[in-house]
């Protein structure tokens, strides 16, 4: 079988179960593809753990031979955004300040997936500390969009989305604080699920903004995402925000017809600033869903404009707190490695000043300002009040409708370098994904069509938002949409070999 790397998780699991392929064959094929394609075209991986992956694959095959297989994910090669601590494997958050950091434990979700038998191929690029929407804020390399190598893959989980789209892993983990799973999934033409806040344990995952962060899968299909979520979700005593509610068998919740389903269409999301072609795709998607028997209803989320302001207070405030642990004392970049300054403050100021990149510094300063004496009530407290209003918008909407369908990003993937010097422009590109995070509701990005730019086809996704713990419903709608749209294009990387001649920083 020549193209094992292009399989979905569900299909690979079937072939493994039938004994038609082994995990070692599958893993070797993908490792080979990573070797051929990744450094040349995509730059999705920061680290490839060839030995670890092959060892896990051999163990999986051994289990299968002895009838001790652990389920559908056993032997499936996936990869991790570099925010996930993995025992014994360098974990950097794509930041200089954590370069060389080797965790002595697995994050809870990595442990769960290992227990389910997955093979971990390596660590994927991202914006440093997940600060960004293009993966250009990585301190190490700029990942390229497999559909057009001159464009960004989105971010911050850009390495994850690009790797899945380019068949450099069967599935990947991402994190989402304001759209970091959904936006790159949309820009790379793959499925990205941001679960309900508290659904997946964040223990051992490098924190960005703790009241907003969630962990979710990025996959080639909705079925795959459902399967991964089953293994990832659940209560964890080491993350006090995890919910006690039992985890449904998500993969059995999909495939149901959506006749009579009520879909909300929020008028505030269809405003100026959205690309015309994106607008057309979202509207065409709604028509498709209607053809399946769903009913589309116009709704209002009146505090949408406030959601971005809320987010841009809460998020940097929490970033500044979370990044205060990088002090040059316990781990990471430190001036102590070269000298012993006279006082402790110098260690802090210099290690942080030299170790953090621009975007981390910007956010730390914004957040510190917001939380500083005299400003807390004016900003942070107000943002928490506004968050109540944003959340109420969704509560009210979900009394009338089952799901809400919106664009994911106002534009398809933009050019590398186009927005990197204009942080404000970059911030505004998250406008449709941000509200789900302060509200805590789950949302999925599902591929919905293509737009043509400069002779290249660029994927565009739609966002399906559900009520708290509404993952089964949004997964089902996404699955139905996939079936009716039947988009099976893949980026053609080999033919682009000669087209690309660029410098990567």
């Amino acid at each position: 079988m020549k193209e094992l790397f292009s399989l979905t998780i569900v299909r690979a699991a079937e072939l493994l179960e039938k004994g038609e392929i082994t995990s070692v064959e599958l893993t070797e094929t993908i490792l080979e593809r990573i070797g051929e394609i990744d450094r040349k075209f995509i730059l999705a991986y920061l680290l490839v753990d060839k030995e670890g992956a092959l060892k896990a694959a051999r163990e999986s095959d051994e289990r299968r031979k002895n009838n001790q297989t652990r389920g559908k994910l056993d032997g499936i090669p996936i990869a991790l955004k570099d925010l996930f601590c993995q025992k014994g494997v360098e974990t950097t958050a794509a930041s200089n300040i954590l370069k060389g950091f080797i965790p002595c434990y697995d994050s809870a979700v990595v442990k769960k997936l290992k227990d389910a038998g997955v093979v971990i191929l390596g660590k994927l690029n991202q914006d440093a500390f997940a600060h960004g929407s293009s993966t250009e804020n990585s301190d190490f390399q700029v990942t390229r969009n497999p559909w057009d190598l001159t464009r960004v893959p989105g971010g911050s989980s850009g390495g994850s989305a690009a790797a899945v789209a380019a068949d450099l892993c069967l599935g990947a983990l991402g994190t989402d604080t304001g759209g970091s799973i959904r936006q790159p999934a949309s820009m790379c033409g793959v499925v990205g699920l941001k679960p309900t806040y508290g659904r997946v344990s964040r223990y051992g995952v490098i924190a960005m903004a703790s009241s907003l962060d969630v962990i979710g899968p990025i996959c080639k299909s909705t079925e795959d995402a459902a399967l991964m979520m089953e293994a990832m979700a659940g209560k964890d005593p080491l993350d006090a925000t995890t919910l006690n509610t039992p985890v449904p068998e998500y993969s059995k919740e999909i495939g149901k017809d959506i006749k009579g389903l009520k879909i909300g269409w929020p008028k505030e999301y269809f405003t100026a600033g959205m690309d015309n072609d994106v607008d057309k795709i979202v509207r065409a998607t709604l028509v498709k869903l209607e053809s399946l028997g769903a009913e589309v209803i116009e709704i209002s989320l009146p505090h949408t404009d406030m959601a971005l302001a809320t987010y841009y207070i809460l998020q940097p405030a929490e970033v500044s707190s979370n990044l205060s642990r990088y002090d040059g004392i316990k781990y990471g970049y430190s001036v102590l490695r070269n000298k012993l300054p006279k006082n402790l403050e110098e260690v802090y100021f210099e290690s942080r000043g030299e170790g953090f990149g621009d975007e981390a510094k910007r956010r730390i300063m914004i957040g510190t300002h917001v939380l500083s004496a005299g400003y807390y009530d004016a900003y942070y407290k107000k943002a928490m009040q506004l968050r109540t209003l944003v959340k109420k918008d969704f509560d009210e909407a979900f009394k009338k409708v089952d799901v809400i369908v919106t664009p994911v990003s106002p534009t398809p993937a933009f050019k590398i370098g186009e927005k990197v010097d204009d942080p404000i422009k970059m911030y505004l590109s998250d406008i449709y994904t941000v509200p789900a995070n302060p509200a805590g509701v789950p949302a999925i990005s599902c591929p919905a069509g293509f737009v043509e730019r400069e002779g290249k086809e660029l994927p565009v996704g739609v966002q399906i938002i559900g009520p708290m713990l509404g993952e089964p419903t949004i997964l089902n709608v996404s699955n139905q949409l996939e079936k009716i749209l039947n988009l099976d294009q893949k980026p053609s990387l080999s033919s682009k070999a000669d087209e690309f001649s660029g410098d990567n920083s």
Binding site: C104, T241, K330, Y331, K382, L386
Partner: protein, 100 residues
């Protein structure tokens, strides 16, 4: 636009040593965001409750007993110290905090 001293003040509170070039570079985006925040001041939100997080969970307590969580937290002292920049034996070395 924020003045040099304003940026320096926030950098100091943030424990960040910045170069003069960085101070110049960071002034415009910080000014923009701080201005956006000031616009919020015009909103009257009296009577609106605050939401710090959305789960509704409060005060997650457990019995006060030592418990080894399966595998995850089992790191040895050596493993935990392996990432420390400067150490002597099992101690982390830092500059003197209390003057002689």
């Amino acid at each position: 636009m924020l003045k040099k001293e304003d940026v320096e003040r926030v950098a100091r509170l943030s424990r960040l040593k910045l170069s003069d070039a960085e101070i110049v570079k960071f002034a415009p985006p910080l000014s923009y965001v701080f201005k956006m925040f000031e616009d919020l001041d015009t909103k009257n939100l009296s009577g609106v409750e605050e939401t710090s997080q959305v789960t509704g969970l409060k005060n997650i307590l457990r019995d006060d007993e030592i418990k080894q969580y399966p595998d995850l937290t089992r790191c040895t002292t050596e493993e935990l110290l392996a990432n420390a920049p400067k150490k002597e034996g099992t101690n982390i070395v830092v500059p003197r905090i209390i003057e002689k």
